[in-house]
Subunit: 228 residues, 2 copies
């Protein structure tokens, strides 16, 4: 019921042309001397004008239809923009153009934000997971994982040795906890381990730290491409 707007519009346009013809005449200044014999061509100047107007009008109509078609697809693409039932007979809650554009802008912004966030997460995970090489200097750091209850992340870099893993295992076992997950990178005779330790008390952190410190620096025979 909404798209039956067109119709009876040519009446006004006809009047417009009429008024213009009555009022105007032929404003071209220097070609006017050629219209002395207006019977050579069946088109008079007025006819040329009206046919040009028709062309113009039709072209404009095509342009409008093109734009409105884009609006339609936009309405179809985005949610919250159209709620028409099976048949758009009744219950077609068409949003007006400005709202369509506004909603589009909103959704585009949200989508962009979402994409950047997801991409960052993806990259973050990658760069966090893939490889972090051991630092040259010995390091030991413990921190609580705030997004996980009772989870502590212990990061340590030191010289690699054959007994290191056992030493670390004993250190962790000494505080009655469990290593939920571990990441170990070994390169160039040095190693970097990240341990996620579950179920550690507040005072346990200090104990674990000192135990790990001892384990790290316990002298053991070096392991560089050791063959056994």
């Amino acid at each position: 019921m909404v798209f039956l707007r067109q119709g009876m519009q040519h009446v006004r346009s006809y009047y417009n042309s009429e008024a213009q013809m009555i009022r105007g005449g032929f404003p071209q200044p220097f070609i006017s001397r050629t219209n002395k014999t207006s019977f050579l061509k069946p088109r008079s100047k007025a006819e040329i004008k009206v046919v040009a107007a028709k062309k113009h009008s039709e072209a404009e109509k095509r342009r409008r239809m093109r734009i409105n078609g884009q609006y339609e697809t936009l309405r179809a693409i985005l949610p919250n923009l159209i709620k028409h039932g099976e048949i758009d007979f009744v219950m077609n809650q068409q949003k007006d153009k400005a709202s369509v554009l506004a909603e589009t802008i909103k959704q585009v912004k949200e989508l962009k934000k979402k994409v950047s966030k997801l991409e960052q997460d993806s990259y973050g995970n990658s760069s966090k997971d893939v490889v972090k090489f051991p630092s040259g200097a010995d390091r030991l750091n413990l921190e609580k994982c705030n997004n996980e209850e009772g989870l502590v992340k212990a990061t340590l870099s030191c010289e690699d040795s054959l007994g290191l893993m056992s030493a670390i295992s004993r250190a962790v076992g000494s505080v009655k906890t469990k290593v939920v997950k571990a990441e170990i990178v070994s390169v160039g005779g040095r190693t970097r381990s990240v341990l996620w330790v579950q179920g550690l008390g507040t005072d346990g952190m200090g104990m674990l730290k000192s135990s790990l410190k001892i384990a790290m620096h316990k002298p053991a025979f070096k392991m560089r491409h050791s063959t056994q």
Copy 2:
């Protein structure tokens, strides 16, 4: 130079009103008897009509401006839609409305696709990374990482023991390779280790596998909350 289109448009509208007044008269059929004394109000019917037309025209202008403002922000939001320099003096390659809408539709589709893909990836990573508990049965599997040259991923599940790490280290060292990365999950007396081994020949894979098998099944005292 583009937005100076308006101007001299009121001329046509004036003519239109004029033509309409000449042609029309006052088409209201039953209120016409009240206009016998048209001096009570300084507004005549024609004046009412023209002021209403003005209101209407201005409202329509506001609507147009609103829509065009949305177009502007849309142009600003999306890439590839505007390429104007510092000043939009010259070199303002404004895309027309239909193209703006078309480009918008395209970008929205791409963004949606991107979001769904990224979300899928994110979930995939999560479920792959976070926790894979050790399986109840002993398992040992080696596979080449096709996206990385010379990288082999060894997955093993077995009983946890204190000497297991050392045994695994020796097994890896026996084939003259390095563990680039390791993930270790230990729960309920069982452990699951994933080792990424770099620099392994084709025949080395079989050797590593048998070595790891021996290391896995070497009997050692159990480790369940062991205290040093």
